[in-house]
Amino acid sequence: MRPIFALIKKEFFQIIRDPSSILISGVLPLILLFIYGFGVSLDLDHLRIGLVMEEESDEAVSFAESLRNSRYFEVTTVRDRRELEDKMLEGKIRGFVVIPAYFSSSWKRPGQEAPLQVITDGSEPNTAQFVQNYVRGAFSVWLQQEKLNQNLKGLPLIQTLPRFWYNEELESRNFLIPGSIAIIMTLIGTLLTALVVAREWERGTMEALMSTPVTIFQLLVGKIVPYFILGMLSMTLCVVVAVWFYQIPLRGSFLVLAMSSASFLLAATLLGLFISTLSKNQFVASQASIVSAFLPAFILSGFIFEISSMPGWIQALTHFIPARYFVSSLQTLFLVGNVWEVILPNTFFILLFALIVLTLTVYKTAKRLDG
């Protein structure tokens, strides 16, 4: 065991002496958590929209009022729609609502539906969806209000009552912050490990280590353990910030969270080691870890983008991304609780991935020594 400790000690000194390792394991997680907490919000509640009032009837005024009162919109009111067309082009408004000149006359005629036009900026489909949804929401509230006030005509017969479980206030932060832990751990586990080990290959110090009586197994363990510990520290930092600063509920137990994270970190670190063994060059190692670990963790993990909406071949691809399983465990552990039916299979796949990568790494390293 002594050689392992010596190697670990050496690695720790290297970490502490190089400001860039501290940058990526301490500063970057905080910057990312900060941005996910404040900057990236999928809850669109300051949507700038326009309102074209071609008439000023009582109905039109009361509808305009209900749009302005909606907490989702910042409304600019004009009389002529041409004033808004340039603003749409510049991306300064996300859409506009038109109350046509004939609105109140068709409103009063029985059996006829008065039209209101909603035009959205389709160049941003997600935002356009939300503009539609929120205008619909404001519209149906207004319609019920009008019905009560005027006792006029029928309401929609079927009412829809949505309930959002586990995240009643619909804060996207509640699932983005847990998910971002997966991204941060990928960076430390894969990118940092790959860079550091690749540097040793590049400088030839890896061969120097191999020529000592240290076995391959000891060498691998000595490389993994320091970055594993660094990653776990960083994970703890993230959880502390998430729970105490952002007030994200942690409904599962911390122990289960720590164990899932440990298994993911193991897989990520082994992947970093494998990449560096293959590429033994810092530039290629950094590119390979970004392409094979960081970007998939960001895009193919279900962290922001829903996996079931992707084409079939990409969905199949996501099964080979350990972050996919980890993000699902994280979101469940934070917002729902210890749901074993979700956690156990996820952890199993992560460990399976780790095992495969470990086997490949040992095989590759052994071959290098022989040759």
Partner: protein, 370 residues
Amino acid sequence: MMWQRIWSLVIKELLAVWRDKKSRMVLIIPPMAQLIIFSFAATLDVKNASIAILNHDSGKVSTDLIQQFVGSPTFASIVYLQGVEQIRPTIDQQRAMMVLHIDESFSRQLYAGKPASVQLILDGRKSNTTQIVAGYATEIINQFSDAFAKERGFPVQSARLIVRNWYNPNLIYLWFNVPNLVGILTMVVSLIITALSVARERELGTFDQLLVSPMEPFEIVVGKTLPAVIISLGEATLILGVAIGLYQIPFLGSLWVLYVSLIVFVFAVVGVGLFLSSICKTQQQAILASFVFMSPALLLSGYATPIENMPVWLQKIDLINPIRYFLVITKGVFLKGMPFSIAWELIWPMAVIAFFNLLGANWMFRRRLE
């Protein structure tokens, strides 16, 4: 004389990248793979969502309503539940994103012309997706409700919303993604090329040779900037070719507006890369530093979430982020046919960013020389 020296440095840089097989591979394969995978994967659109239905009503109306959900492309697999106690495990174990719950009085109420209700239970773990799912479900139910009321001669709603989406009528996510990726991938490539070109020379010690050569720091900055700009523009052209040729994304604006903005944008990014690498000592630091710049820049670019949603102070900080301007231009030129007069408003801030970063890099090199 000065231009000749710069010119030879430019040629040397281009050859250094071109002769190295690994650099060549890195410039072509990852960006193309990302373009193809991410243009399809990075979608906030909702398709094939799995839902569950719990129907306590025995009438025909509820069966008709359920048929509307079965036929919709938004919803793929539908699980039928037997009792209320199954709702929680279905949501918890993510077997369905939404449970549609119809109670036993549904048909009775509707036949009597009285309002009835449908409950939707949604998984808040993915509130963005499930809000869109709820939106679709509400639309299906409203349409069904209208049709039912008309058919039975009940009074109809007195007003109606007519929704139109400009520039992208069917809200095709690819049309949004690909123009954005033109900006994002160009940024990634140009940042990495620049940051590494200096850092690698530093580590090999050849940068000091460059500094002691008769070249002025200013000439070195220009000589390092130009090749990176040329390579990035080539990369961007390749991506644009795929976007227009292969993906057939509508291109309504003019190419020259896009290229003018692209050149200014690339200068800004290269400026940032050069400035970062003028501070870093090793390759590892340069890679990590460009990474620390890149992730926040992308997250705050307006690609994933609109900028107006951020707190005001963060929006102010974001004013120095070059890609936030360029993404508005590429989407504008592609889908909206944005004219130069509007694009200009977004081009000049990028020019200011480019100027200050290049100035900073120049200053750092000069300081190192003294």
